[in-house]
Symmetry: C2
Subunit: 478 residues, 2 copies
């Protein structure tokens, strides 16, 4: 990083911390040169950077002054988009209600086919524990949750090469609570956070609820995550927290490579930013190795890692956790005020289940089934989707993210398919601030049969119709 | 209500709704007289009431103008106390951690002795359901929760004489989530809410978390609830929501009579205020009839009624609900963003359990046991507490609220008893804004035995010591 950039960054930090209040004068160029030992041109560059960002303003011959808070918000930039006072309409709510109906084919669902989950051994253990009074101890019904379960989860981090103790872990009602409590613990209303452009809608909703300013990082066509846009956003905005999904990303499906993850960890430290990592699909990799979480690359306690058993044992378990580290107390405090705890019974049954290698066996089986199903769906769609549509095969999870021609509106296709009792997830849910909505997410965890094939035919047909009705490009003039 | 008061109230509503913005002129006295048909003196009275409340200001000969928002906050009043920007310190958190330890006698616990709960029949049914995959349906894992359970809960309202349909009910993770989501749905940061002076600490914490202004209603020594202070607070402050507990109140134990409840319902309507009713102990009455919730007296959909199975079947069930009426959608929306749902397994087991009259039988047995225990504790304490201490026997629940002489600090007694491995709940937790802290709450749901008797002796002894060390009053002069 250039010296002037470093200086600009330090000054920005001080402005944010109100070392100087709005309309107060910054040190003069001469003072700053003397204090810092930097050259005049370096100092001037730094001041001009701040000016370009709207953080300071210059008065003729008198020097630089701190801008009003409201004026400190920088202008629109092509690569990162600022979404003030995020307003998610009720589209998500109505979508979730609509695909919930029992007779709707669940290609729009965020959850794997429940038939693949709810492992029988787990249910047996749950039944055994249900009859014992000491499965319901009050102490397990208080944050941070069951001690034995926290030890097992901590051990799973250790086995993947990360330092962790049970004190780092807080058990939650699913990963959604873990993510929400983490965001709440780390932010105040008005703070800036980073989200990916296409992202689990829960992140947008949490940002809305907490009154946060959202900066989005564009999706990178090759790597999934656009590192340079990320760095630029950190440079340009007073970011407090990033909420990212880098493994088996929802909705797109990619897993970011380790090189990028390493660089993200460096940037978090450099810009003193926290990362809330949503990692609920990490166990659903088809390759031999589980993708590494950001915690692995984090040397400076900048990462809060959130996950759950919802995508592997079933959403009905309602057990998630956060590897919260130093923020464990703050998160427990918030939990004590809101839901108190996850089910002590299910926590106890999980302890038993996880202690006896049942889980690893179940995961191996689950991965094989998901891989087989995903390949089947891909094969069919490769043959039957209109030629102008594209999707990538990622060796993990159970989502396909299908790109339609730009003029197609996947929300219209969603609405049309709903009348045929077929659910899909239109891109509006995942990138509400984006202009074009030509993507859709398909859940391919349901076993292939005639009804599914018929529905997939219908899907392809609907897309074909949508393409046909696209405005024809006029012939080139001249 | 006087005509001028009614007019003042209407004008206040319009100021709140920003019909007129700060520094905008209100209709002149003459205009208002003509428009309303009221006498000049009535209109003038109304304007002067608003002026006294800081809502408007008068400009010499020019009329009345809307005050700045920040100036609209009225001054301190002896009977209702305003608690701005509520700051609950971590006392509650550390208290809960301290009494959680397994070797601490749980007289400080908010929960009944778990041995009396976790009914065997319920656990059997839970075990049966645990083995069935369709106990974990995704549709039960989404707001508003299991349909059959909502129907049963709705029916329990109907049987108590209240209109209710399953659409009114949202299932939550315990009553705490129901209360929190209700408060969140009904308020914005900065809004005014009413709490009782001595109240479940979760209410203070929720207010803090949501950035609300709290007005407290003093405890009434006879009726529990001070109706005239309540009315005065409604008159004086722009109250949006009340969060009240009127049946088997925690921590004090009283149940408000029906006459007062009726009047509260009238006032809610008159002042256009919503009530969030915390009614988690309602089933633990020893008399024949269950106390009526405010929903019974509510003709204008002003009440959101929250309860749970935590105090009757065990906190480990983590199932509560809110009779949310018109706010059902708003609350579901918030739940979808935070915890998604309560455990579908436990919801399904509850449906089975509640459908077969097991619950009523369990409740009858539970009430008898609690009554017997409470009487035993009362008998002992009547004989052994120092003469300067007082408490009331209320025929419900399992709390005793003991009043010490004013100079005693129950937090010190709590700390001292903790060194003897005895937990109690000091009044600081329930009335953090109050100057004197000479009350303590005692959980008397644990079976009497030598260890308990010894601990009660220790308690009495600690209190006696505290009284002995009180500063002696100087002898009257002259």
């Amino acid at each position: 990083m250039y010296k002037s950039e470093l200086l600009a960054q330090n000054l920005r930090q001080m402005i944010e911390n109100e070392v100087w209040k709005p309309h107060e004068k910054l040190p003069s160029l001469r003072e700053q040169t003397q204090l810092s030992g930097l050259s005049l041109i370096t100092v001037l560059n730094a001041y001009q950077t701040l000016e370009a960002q709207g953080l300071v303003y210059a008065k003729n011959k008198s020097g630089f002054y701190v801008a009003e808070r409201s004026r400190q918000k920088p202008s629109y930039n092509a690569e990162v988009s600022l979404k003030k006072a995020v307003q998610i309409n009720s589209a998500v709510f109505h979508y979730l209600k609509s695909i919930q109906a029992e007779d709707i084919l669940p290609f729009g669902s965020a959850f794997p086919n429940p038939e693949l989950l709810y492992n029988q051994k787990f249910m047996q253990l749950l039944a055994q524990h249900a009859k014992r009074k000491n499965s319901y101890l009050n102490s397990d019904s208080m944050p941070p949750g069951n001690l034995a379960l926290r030890k097992i989860i901590a051990n799973r981090y250790i086995l993947q090469g990360m330092p962790c103790t049970y004190d780092d872990i807080v058990i939650t009602s699913g990963a959604l609570e873990a993510l929400n409590l983490s965001l709440q613990a780390l932010t105040h209303p008005g703070d800036y956070i980073i989200l990916q452009q296409s992202v689990f809608y829960g992140a947008w909703q949490a940002a809305e609820r907490l009154g946060l300013q959202v900066i989005t990082i564009p999706d990178h066509p090759q790597h999934g995550f656009d590192l340079s846009a990320f760095e630029q956003a950190l440079k340009q905005y007073p970011i407090k927290v990033c909420w990212l999904m880098l493994n088996c990303q929802n909705p797109m499906g990619f897993t970011v490579n380790d090189h990028i993850k390493e660089r993200i960890a460096d940037l978090l430290h450099e810009y003193q930013v926290y990362l809330i990592e949503d990692d609920v699909y990490a166990e659903l990799h088809f390759d031999q190795h589980k993708p590494l979480p950001m915690t692995y690359f984090d040397r400076h306690q900048r990462v809060l890692h959130c996950s759950s058993f919802s995508k592997t044992l079933g959403m009905g378990t309602r057990i998630g956790w956060v590897h919260a580290g130093q923020f464990s107390d703050a998160i427990q405090h918030l939990q004590l005020m809101s839901t108190l705890s996850a089910s002590p019974l299910i926590q106890n049954a999980l302890v038993d289940y996880l202690s006896h290698h049942h889980y690893e066996k179940h995961l191996r089986h689950l991965r094989r089934q998901l891989e087989k199903l995903k390949k089947k769906y891909c094969q069919f769609l490769k043959q039957n989707l209109p030629a102008m549509c594209e999707f990538d095969y990622h060796p993990s999870g159970y989502f396909l993210w299908i790109r339609l021609p730009e003029q197609c509106d996947s929300f219209k296709i969603y609405e049309e398919l709903l009348s045929f009792k077929i659910g899909i997830a239109p891109s509006l849910l995942f990138r509400p601030e984006h202009g074009t909505q030509n993507f859709l997410r398909l859940n391919c965890s349901y076993p292939w049969n005639d009804a599914i094939e018929h529905a997939m035919d219908q899907l392809c047909c609907c897309i074909e119709n949508s393409i046909q009705s696209m405005p024809k490009p006029s012939s080139p003039s001249g």
